[in-house]
């Protein structure tokens, strides 16, 4: 009897210690789950650039430019990583002013296993850092669709280095960085919703692509000479890898293995499916045949459009956003581009610029607190027009305008600099030979081997 009493007393005195042990175990379990998903997501987003985009774009060019085009994607995995590690992460995610971050995380100083509660409180800040890096990697790679088959490799390297600093870092800070101008969740004065990078990634890259294509001029022989995709097979494989990788891009943007991640995953998949059908239907009616290229272009357009909306919309609006993106981007690429005659060779603007803009605006319509109940200043608020906040569409439009404006001015200035310092375009002879041999001294397909 006396012994039992002693044990009870012992247990009672241990209680706080036990509770805190349970709490620590629960926290560590959540951290393990979230970290596992975020590391997988980071890898998925890298897979979108290489091999995804490299194959998608590589297949669409002529065979003499296949390696040069793949290089435009691949090199970003190296170049941007370096810049991001040295100062890029700091300029986006450390506290600064509304337009650009500070230097607190220079050389990743203080970025380690401890979470950064400003962004993701359950995963190591290093995980957050490397996940965000993968977004910075793919964004300039997307632009390469506009200058394919005629750019000097050296000029492309200089352009990208400047562009990531002048356009991407400020835009990413404004939308996602603490205190950023457009950041809806941490004190932005013009709150816009961009879950996974509709403005930051797709509008900046798409609009810059258009400026680049106009500045650089057409490929020699365009459009009178045939410039058919040399391997639709590569492009199909690449586009399908993009589709899969996009789950990391959008669902990963929940920054946790949460219900919100699932919601974004479903919205992403639904939009891609509806957009593939939308593009195919438009093409079938317009040209008489539904093409494989139409199917994959539509899917990518849908993935682009759902990117800003993915963490804010329910499944049915996701289907609608996808369908509209498929139809709209087909119209942009197959009709508007033909009418104006600019040579956005692989349709970086027609898909990413146009799809990104449509998606950003529709996010203002369909964003709902049913999906994303993150409170602002401790209060769950109405998000989009469906929640009774139609004014959000205006904010979204401002976000689009800021991204497009920054992209136009930044890209134009950087092109002027690159043109003066290096010269943008390869010689007509090198263009005829192809970038593989003229820029890299190798061939994608060798008959003698």
């Amino acid at each position: 009897m006396q012994i039992q009493y002693a044990m009870l007393l012992q247990a009672a005195t241990d209680l706080p210690a036990r509770i805190s042990a349970v709490e620590a175990a629960a926290k560590s379990a959540q951290s393990a789950g979230d970290n596992a998903w975020m590391l997988v997501s980071a890898a998925l987003v890298l897979m979108m650039t290489g091999p995804g985009l490299a194959l998608f774009y590589g297949g669409l060019v002529r065979r003499k430019n296949v390696l040069g085009t793949m290089m435009h994607s691949f090199i970003m995995m190296a170049l941007i990583t370096l810049i991001w590690a040295l100062f890029g992460y700091s300029l986006v995610f450390s506290e600064g002013n509304p337009f650009i971050g500070g230097l607190k995380f220079l050389f990743l100083n203080g970025v380690g296993k401890e979470p950064n509660a400003d962004y993701a409180g359950t995963i190591p800040q290093l995980t957050f850092m490397v996940y965000q890096l993968m977004f910075a990697v793919i964004t300039p790679a997307l632009i390469s669709g506009a200058f394919a088959e005629r750019i000097k490799f050296s000029a492309m390297m200089l352009f990208t280095t400047l562009w990531i600093c002048v356009v991407y870092f400020p835009m990413a800070h404004m939308v996602w960085g603490k205190g950023g101008l457009l950041n809806a969740y941490s004190g932005g004065s013009i709150p816009t919703f961009d879950f996974a990078g509709g403005t930051v990634v797709h509008i900046t890259s798409g609009v810059s692509a258009l400026v680049f294509a106009l500045y650089l001029g057409k490929r020699s022989g365009y459009p009178s000479e045939p410039m058919k995709p040399h391997s639709m097979v590569l492009s199909v494989v690449g586009a399908c890898l993009l589709w899969v990788g996009w789950f990391g891009f959008n669902a990963g943007s929940a920054l946790a293995a949460s219900g919100l991640a699932t919601s974004a995953f479903v919205a992403t998949h639904f939009a891609a499916a509806a957009a593939a059908l939308g593009w195919l239907i438009a093409e079938w009616m317009h040209n008489g045949k539904p093409s494989m290229l139409g199917g994959i272009s539509g899917a990518v357009a849908g993935l682009v459009a759902i990117t800003p909306a993915s963490g804010f919309v329910t499944p049915m609006p996701a289907l609608l956003i996808g369908l509209l993106a498929g139809l709209f981007c087909f119209w942009m690429v197959a009709m508007v581009k033909q009418k104006f005659g600019y040579d956005d060779s692989l349709d970086a603007f027609g898909v990413h610029g146009a799809g990104g803009t449509l998606g950003a605006l529709l996010t203002g319509v369909f964003a709902t607190s049913v999906v994303n109940d993150t409170a602002i200043n401790g209060k769950v608020i109405a998000l989009g027009a469906v929640d009774g906040n139609p004014a959000q569409i205006g904010n979204q439009a401002i976000g689009v305008a800021v991204a497009a404006g920054l992209a136009i001015v930044g890209t134009f200035l950087i092109l002027k600099i690159c043109d003066a310092v290096i010269g943008l375009r390869v010689t007509p002879e090198d263009e005829r030979t192809g970038l593989d041999i003229s820029q890299h001294g190798e061939e994608g397909y060798s008959l003698e081997a």
Partner: protein, 112 residues
Amino acid sequence: MKKIEAIIQPFKLEEVKEALKNAGIDGMTISEVRGHGRQKGHKEVYRGQEYNVDLLPKVKFELVVADVRLQEVLETIASAARTGKIGDGKIFVYDVAEAIRIRNGDRGEAAV
């Protein structure tokens, strides 16, 4: 000796090969080629950009036969390759000055 050059539809490759084998012809060279005669090409559309593809894939047979067998082999190829539609292809016949089997130096009809 005559050299026969037959340009046919790619999907007739197996049928022609089989017919030649049944006719006792064991030697031939085949290549994938592109070309067109009176047959018009087709239209391809990539994201709204139209291309007229008029050089169509064909298969070219090359074989050399003894003079006495010429008519029979020509008939074999033509009937196996014929669909009756435009695009079936053409057969050309050339005189051959000499033939040499590299392995043992056989010459003339003994080498084909």
